[in-house]
Symmetry: C2
Subunit: 224 residues, 2 copies
């Protein structure tokens, strides 16, 4: 009985994700779902990204938090459109779902948007289990979190297209084995590309911007 309910829920999630896929294509928008533990630097990377992109590509953000609009406020300073989802009123949900993302995105004028960033709730577990129908799933893992996280949270690393290794400016202050992290990433998902980055110093951000440019260009080619 319970299993039936779960299957029904998962089928509804997949149907919603499919609607999003069509919606983002119709809108000519490449959507990127950013996931990580709390405090791995999703908002800091988005700040750096918006600053670096300038007007080169139109950007907007769907911001997911249990409570507060703190992150949306940090990003709105860059003159972009933001839509906030607060899951707090719905029981403090620990993830975003496809239908909520669509509702939020529909509040934006997407005609000027090339890249729609979805900043998920800070959580290395649950968000990975919900298909949002986006063009790419990105996981951030900061070097302060330890090398073992891909082994301990493999579902997240398996569900992503890119892994950003963040806060590398802190490496001199840490005993951190980057090769071990890279081995653990490969073991969880052999095809997962990893990019080392510091939103603070800007190191590695160029590679990330190129990846975003490629994603947007590829989406536009598909639509044409």
């Amino acid at each position: 009985m319970e299993i039936k309910v779960l299957k029904k829920l998962m089928a509804a999630q997949e149907a919603d994700a499919e609607i999003n896929r069509k919606f983002f294509s119709d809108m000519n928008v490449a959507a990127v779902n950013m996931m990580s533990s709390p405090g791995s630097g999703k908002t800091a990377l988005l700040e750096k990204t918006l600053e670096a992109l300038g007007g080169e590509l139109g950007a907007a953000v769907v911001e997911g938090d249990i409570l507060t609009t703190l992150d949306a406020e940090r990003l709105a300073r860059f003159g972009i459109q933001t839509a906030q989802i607060n899951t707090g009123p719905f029981g403090g949900d620990c993830h975003l779902e496809a239908a909520w993302v669509r509702s939020a995105a529909e509040q934006l004028d997407l005609s000027l948007v090339d890249l729609l960033f979805v900043e998920n709730v800070g959580n290395l577990v649950c968000p990975a289990e919900f298909n949002l129908g986006v063009d790419a799933n990105v996981v951030l893992i900061s070097v302060t979190e330890g090398e073992d996280k891909p082994a301990k949270y493999p579902i997240m690393f398996r569900s992503c297209d890119l892994c950003v290794v963040s806060k590398i400016d802190l490496l001199p202050a840490l005993d951190f084995d980057m090769e071990l992290l890279e081995r653990n990433i490969r073991a969880a998902n052999p095809g997962l590309r990893a990019m080392k980055m510091s939103a603070k110093t800007g190191e590695g951000v160029g590679e990330w911007l190129d990846w975003l440019r490629g994603l947007s260009a590829s989406k536009k080619r598909k639509i044409k």
Copy 2:
């Protein structure tokens, strides 16, 4: 219909927590539930704790992870009893539940144990919603995660008896506003005691050990 199911589930959780409370009292054990984001330093603090306690108080650990026994292996080196819960086979659950903790604890010889640490799955959201029937709930927040976390994840901070601010050895490498974090902790839960700590340098660990000694002594008084 769905709301009824949820209420039934929550009532079952509370009943299980009550069984744990009685079980830990019968066993003369003070149980401490350790929660945080992935990589905030739960295992590192437990390593430091076991090293510092020596044989002063009997300790054991129930280790919760989606997958792997990496943390249990790190802690077993201190010659203590450990019991591993892997939630992976049950759908990769993002939290521990009272009945699982009891099953794990029942595998241990608790006659020599004063302090039973429960290391929860790394997640700042979901574990806070499950009452484990322990004597104290502790949340760790590392200074690399940012000052805003108590505002963004208030359920966790409200459900805890102690907040450990970890990795303070990294403060010189960060732009971190400790007063802002402390204000945010007080705003989420005015009664929540915060302890600043570094498991690496040992700073602040003495205060934590005193708190653990007090918890154990208070439990033994209650039982007599």
